[in-house]
Symmetry: C2
């Protein structure tokens, strides 16, 4: 139901007097529907409901939670093409992307449903009593993970589905047993509105308490700040800009009770091109990198914003090929006029820095809000001296850093800040010879890619979508894949607890058939 | 070697001009040896060495790290009775405690040596490529935990061995592959000095790089602050007061690159006495609780600082018995005149609060720095109104909160802040009847104890020594047991990495024979 209201438990409310609309960036005009920014009272109500629901929801069975997650997926699919149309009208992204992202969103819900059903993510650990141990007996100790409590999720501008209302943060938190309050992204408030309606419908279908899920509209910072400061909120998931993520982190750290903020704040994802491979594979890498830089108009946190290579005739030729590939790409609309404007400002600022020059820049187009693919180059010495060139320009942009030799390359890599990813392109032989470089990179990233580009984040157990600051505010946790559930869990130990009072995961009979660590051994056996 | 100097890598330095001495609290006089507070230059040097050593140390084999940890234990044992005597002269604690704590320290080193040897703590996870998957192929992804980098450990006043130079934080960080810089606790600087000499000797024996371990003396806050603010420091372990822990947390959160602080800041560890069990087992529980309150002069973070019961004649009689037991205990010296003075101030402040009265208080003794065991009581209504009564009084002190009925008890429990532990004493039948109470407690603690007291923290995999704020600054991690190693690790994912360039833990052949998650299944098989 697209009505522009806030969804608070099973209520739909519009108590505030601030309204806003979304924009269709292709048409460059406002969409019709009016959204009601949540008032402080509505924030308070959503958090209050989440707090009340937390105890009950934490104790729901794994079957209930798995069914709930699958119902959300079904309700989303049942929105049909209305969802696809709305998504496209609010994001300017093409239909194929909308369908793909819906598929990923539904796939993530299924992934967490399976994870919850399997159940071992609660990491049950049992050390049985040793009453006759000398000099002191050992008591019975049993530990498992439990949900942290209400979680606030900030919708991401660049993933209206997969990192917003029913995206990875929400799905993993609901799977963990935490109520979720989504602060919707104002650029795709309508998409958030109807996806959140689908979640509320699924919650109601399974008789879950009001407050397991709420969705609040907000165009400014006030609603988000109020949510993060609220004493009943226990953790925060955020995907967005460095400024936004750091501000939320600071707010959360300055609370009377500090809470974790999992902010994923983007990255320049350096791609290092080693010399041997460029002798032979210039064409294909030029094509692949041009595709990665411009994919989704460059609006991915894994966009390769820095390329690095060693100066020689092969790199010169690669540069020409890259330029040709870039100019061949038909440019696409960015998510929002504000983002397009910020992109243009970022490109211009980069061009004004000492030593930069243009390799490729798509000429202006008549279409509004288009992100013009742009590649600059700069000598490594100038790059190292100028921290502004190390910053992300969000959009289809990359900066080729030209190094004199391997030492020059290593010195440049040593100055790179924390990143989600780094990629190294090289022949097997030369990769083996760049041991020091690989170690340097490993210290700076969450994911080290060999002969591949950073875009395309597989959703699986071995993925780590995270990285040292400033890529994220907590590099110990991933935002993608099964392990993302760990962000919303904390351990509790039960000492000498009667079997019947233990959570099922820790009972002697192992009624949930979980894989458990029992006296140091992993087993599904009874105790 | 007891020389009062700072230990920086393999150097012993005394470059600052601030000196201090430790105090023998039993004799109430200064010990002879003079300690040299680390200068800013020495801080810089220690961190610089740790930073330089980090890459090499992170790549050492599991065998090397296990041998290093065992050598530390051997070197500590080789200090013999000199260590025991020094420990006692700086802490006032009895010889038995010194030997027991040394045993625990050596035991922890062995535990982490075994954990490293087994090796699965790096949580290897492999998802192999699916080149023919539709619509997109899957790339090969492999993830494992790697060390975070240099760690700063603050020595704890109340554990000169088990939570100081070679204590649980240091042992788990060294096991993880992180260099450690200890900021020694000034109250037992000599113990820190010789134990750190033992660690340095073990490092040298195994040819580890300088800077894998350093130990800095400091009486004030400056050295600790400089360490936590240093950009090359990546994580902090702390056990101590709320004020100290929170200050370090704030400092770390306000860095340009925020880092995690694992501060364990004490707790009042409520013990709830249910009515049925007190009908029969008054004597034994009075004895057990009196023992727990006064153990180690109450200088444990798990000291039971609040008792709660429901008013009736059984509780009255229990109170009398508890008083008798307390008065029978021979009082012991506290760690330091400052701690004894602070304890007395805390006791007096508690006594001055509205509604409190004395159940038991040991009369004054001629011995200096003795912690006089004290039990106060207060009605639940007064307790709830007065947050000061919820605060820890560090020492052999407890406050009995007398509730009118079960509702009164539940309302009081609902006001309790985050705790390391809570204990419930009851018959099996009545425990089963207090479901709501147990849930309330579970939300507030890291360890829920049934029919036991909180003192006595087993070092094992199922232990969780942590808890919601303000008990700790990060309730997702334990400070005791195998899982404490997780505080010093972060994940890295390798995408499409040639087998020979992968860390051994992730190579196809599984040369380390680790238990790995391969395509969703736990196995020690090759890929």
């Amino acid at each position: 139901m697209l009505d522009g209201k806030n969804i608070i438990g099973y209520d739909r409310t519009q108590r505030g007097n601030v309204t806003f609309r979304t924009i269709n960036p292709i048409l460059n005009k406002e969409n019709e529907i009016v959204f009601y920014e949540a008032s402080r009272e509505e924030v308070e109500e959503a958090v209050g409901l989440a707090h009340s629901a937390a105890g009950f929801y934490a104790e729901t069975s794994k079957e209930t939670r798995a069914r709930f997650l699958r119902s959300i997926a079904e309700e989303i699919m049942a929105l049909g093409d209305d969802l696809i149309d709305l998504y496209c009208s609010e994001s300017g992204l093409p239909e194929g992307r909308a369908r793909g992202e819906r598929g990923r969103t539904v796939g993530q819900l299924e992934l967490y449903a399976k994870l919850v059903e399997e159940g071992s993510y609660v990491q049950p650990s049992i050390d049985t009593a040793l009453p006759h141990r000398e000099p002191n007996p050992r008591v019975d100790l049993r530990k498992m993970m439990v949900p942290v409590g209400p979680v606030v999720v900030f919708g991401a501008s660049n993933f209206p589905l997969a990192y917003s209302s029913a995206g990875g943060d929400t799905a993993s938190a609901l799977a963990a047993g935490c109520p979720v309050i989504v602060k919707g992204h104002p650029m795709h408030a309508g998409t958030g509105n109807i996806v959140s309606s689908a979640i509320a419908a699924a919650a109601r279908k399974h008789g879950l308490p009001e407050g397991v899920f709420s969705h609040l509209n907000s165009k400014g910072h006030g609603v988000g700040e109020a949510l993060v400061k609220h004493p009943h909120v226990k953790a925060v998931g955020f995907t967005g800009s460095h400024g936004g993520g750091r501000a939320l982190f600071n707010l959360a750290a300055s609370r009377e009770e500090p809470i974790p903020v999992f902010a994923e704040m983007g990255s320049v994802n350096p791609v290092i091109l080693l010399p041997e491979i460029l002798k032979k594979e210039k064409d294909s890498w030029a094509r692949t990198i041009a595709g990665s830089v411009t994919l989704g108009s460059g609006q991915f946190c894994t966009n390769p914003g820095i390329l690095m290579g060693i100066e020689n005739s092969d790199l010169d030729r690669f540069t020409e090929l890259l330029s040709e590939e870039i100019l061949r790409i038909s440019p696409s609309t960015m998510l929002h006029p504000d983002i397009a404007e910020k992109y243009n400002r970022g490109r211009e600022q980069a061009r004004e820095q000492k030593g930069t020059s243009i390799i490729a820049e798509l000429s202006d187009t008549a279409k509004p809000n288009v992100g013009r693919p742009t590649i600059l180059k700069v000598k490594a010495a100038d790059f190292r001296e100028n921290p502004r060139l190390h910053q992300e320009v969000f959009g289809p942009f990359s900066l080729l850093v030209i190094c004199q030799n391997i030492e020059d390359l290593e010195r440049s890599v040593a100055l790179i800040e924390g990143q989600l990813t780094a990629s190294v392109i090289g022949t097997p032989e030369e990769l083996a010879g760049y041991d020091f470089l690989l170690r340097q990179l490993k210290e700076r990233v969450g994911r080290l890619i060999f002969n591949g580009v950073p875009t395309g984040v597989e959703v699986c157990a071995s993925m780590h979508h995270g990285g040292p600051y400033p890529a994220t505010t907590d590099n110990r946790f991933t935002a993608v894949g099964e392990d993302a559930i760990n962000r919303w869990l904390r351990p509790v130990c039960f000492q000498n607890c009667p079997d019947s009072l233990l959570p099922p995961a820790l009972q002697n009979a192992n009624p949930l058939s979980l894989l458990r660590r029992v006296n140091g051994k992993l087993t599904r056996d009874k105790v």
